[in-house]
Symmetry: C2
Subunit: 331 residues, 2 copies
């Protein structure tokens, strides 16, 4: 059995990094590692300032609200906690840099806490390495019952892209395919017995999202947001901030072959998974130009009238509402 101080010591040792003295990095340092003047182990982390604007995002994951350990492993939970925040940094056209972590873990599950923590930290570490992020501090507490997690991620961008830059006439794009994560969750909840080549990619999209940036591929981004709560509500947020409206083409929204097959076998409504499923961690952005890039799909157009519409396969245009039950959200 371990106690709280031992857990804090374990985390410290695992994520401690060699640090440089303040004098060595006079001026603006560029290398991430060399910018850590003090990492884990003091009252605060101390970081050399970046050259460009700093990005800050924070996200919570609460047991019983955002996850259920019956469906997600401790490793995947750690990975996803970081990846969700990475998605927000990419949505500003930024590079992720430094992470702070808050862990509140129950001690009345004592026999399992060491195992949980080891796998959870492995998942955190895997995602940190994947995106070249450094853990520079955090807080640990015992919990009376539930697991409560939060993470704050910093980033930097020479030219951040806001939600508010969409203009009438812009084309609307998304990365990847939409709805897979929600379908993956549904498969987990129903313990659905489907062929593994269908299940695996959908469930992976839910448990281990892999956000990818677009700002290196596309230079002229007018507005951007990540799709975390669902395509419809996140598009509505972008439109609201930009004081514009949008018209989507249902047939153009990229849907994976696996989602189509799973929806058919499980009798799920594809459009509803796509529009309000959430947790895609894909990017939604607008641009003046027509872009032809693998992995980017044009799905509609920004219009002046501030409402949202969708044209169905039948050519009929219907109102598009920002639906979906939202139990949490950033402010």
């Amino acid at each position: 059995l371990v106690n709280e101080l031992e857990i804090i010591e374990l985390i410290r040792k695992r994520f401690s990094v060699p640090q440089v003295t303040v004098g060595e990095t006079a001026g603006i340092a560029t290398d991430r590692q060399n910018r850590i003047l003090k990492g884990i182990g003091d009252d605060t982390a101390v970081i050399s300032p970046p050259k460009y604007p700093i990005l800050y995002t924070t996200d919570m994951m609460v047991e019983g609200i955002h996850f259920d350990l019956a469906f997600i492993s401790p490793f995947e939970l750690g990975y996803k906690l970081v990846a969700r925040n990475v998605s927000d940094i990419f949505a500003m056209a930024g590079e992720p840099e430094f992470l702070l972590l808050n862990l509140c873990l129950p001690f009345n599950r004592k026999r399992k806490i060491e195992n949980f923590l080891a796998s959870f930290l492995d998942g955190i570490d895997e995602c940190l390495k994947r995106y070249n992020i450094r853990l520079v501090g955090g807080d640990f507490s015992s919990s009376p019952d539930r697991i409560f997690l939060s993470a704050t991620l910093t980033g930097t961008s020479p030219s951040p892209v806001f939600r508010s830059g969409a203009r009438p006439g812009d084309f609307i794009y998304v990365t990847g395919t939409i709805g897979d994560s929600a379908c993956g969750l549904e498969i987990l909840k129903r313990k659905a017995k489907l062929p593994s080549e269908i299940i695996t990619p959908l469930v992976k999209k839910h448990l281990r999202p892999e956000p990818e940036p677009v700002h290196k591929k596309v230079s002229r981004l007018n507005a951007m947001i990540d799709i975390s709560d669902g395509l419809a509500i996140d598009l509505w947020r972008l439109c609201t901030e930009s004081s514009v409206g949008a018209l989507l083409y249902e047939d153009k929204i990229p849907v994976s072959r696996e989602l189509k097959e799973a929806a058919s076998l499980m009798d799920l409504d594809i459009l509803s998974l796509v529009l309000s499923g959430g947790e895609d961690y894909e990017l939604l952005f607008t641009a003046d130009d027509l872009i032809r890039e693998p992995g980017l799909t044009e799905i509609g157009v920004i219009k002046e009238k501030p409402d949202m519409e969708i044209m169905g396969s039948d050519g009929v245009v219907r109102p598009l509402r920002p639906e979906g039950y939202i139990h949490s959200g950033n402010f």
Copy 2:
């Protein structure tokens, strides 16, 4: 009754600030407000980088672990969540700058959530104004039961002071008086009936800590830490990071008149409140020089041998152990 989206909207409106465009602040901006290129309402906050190193700290407050609403009001809870983090920034000789907030509030107490939130945000706001901090983002979630709070605070310092800089021969100083907060909590828990001129300052120290920086008063600080878990354990942390030991003089530790009176009336051990009470949010630091400043008290000396000792009123030197039950801590 309000729902989650309405709460997020309420927080957004309350803490939204006018923002400047990226072009207006080319180069390094100095004014805090003008450095907010994007505050609340996008995927991330966007902040112009400071000239000096950036400080990051994060802290959790969990209902049933860190607080009990029977003893602390929502206003004080909001205030204290921010103040705890301010204390960490001051402990590095820094100025606090920008805050990110995570709120997880139960909706099964629906009738009370609006009232709770209004007072809680008032408390946050009061502390933000007190220390000239700007709220630039956060995350809100409903909770299945308990209140979970966390906050990440940024700061900046031209010359951060670490825990690791103490050298043998340094004098050890503390700000303010020690043990008041722990005594205040004891008064609340026991619902002790003492004269109000004794209760008020002690309870206030617990519910509404007011961290004060020392780096503007004292120029040559060798090492510093804030006293959050107790004088003994926090001194031990400073000594460990500096690879030194310490000798304290019991009679020199500053104890308030109110604490002495309350301890006598309630039959509490003063030394135990002082050494392991915690939540003082005073600063403990070491310096080469003898300092004579109101509000700063020399309490001992740093020694080479890496153990801790305390000399009692009787002149006898005894070992000083880093005691106290720690249910949480920073890493």
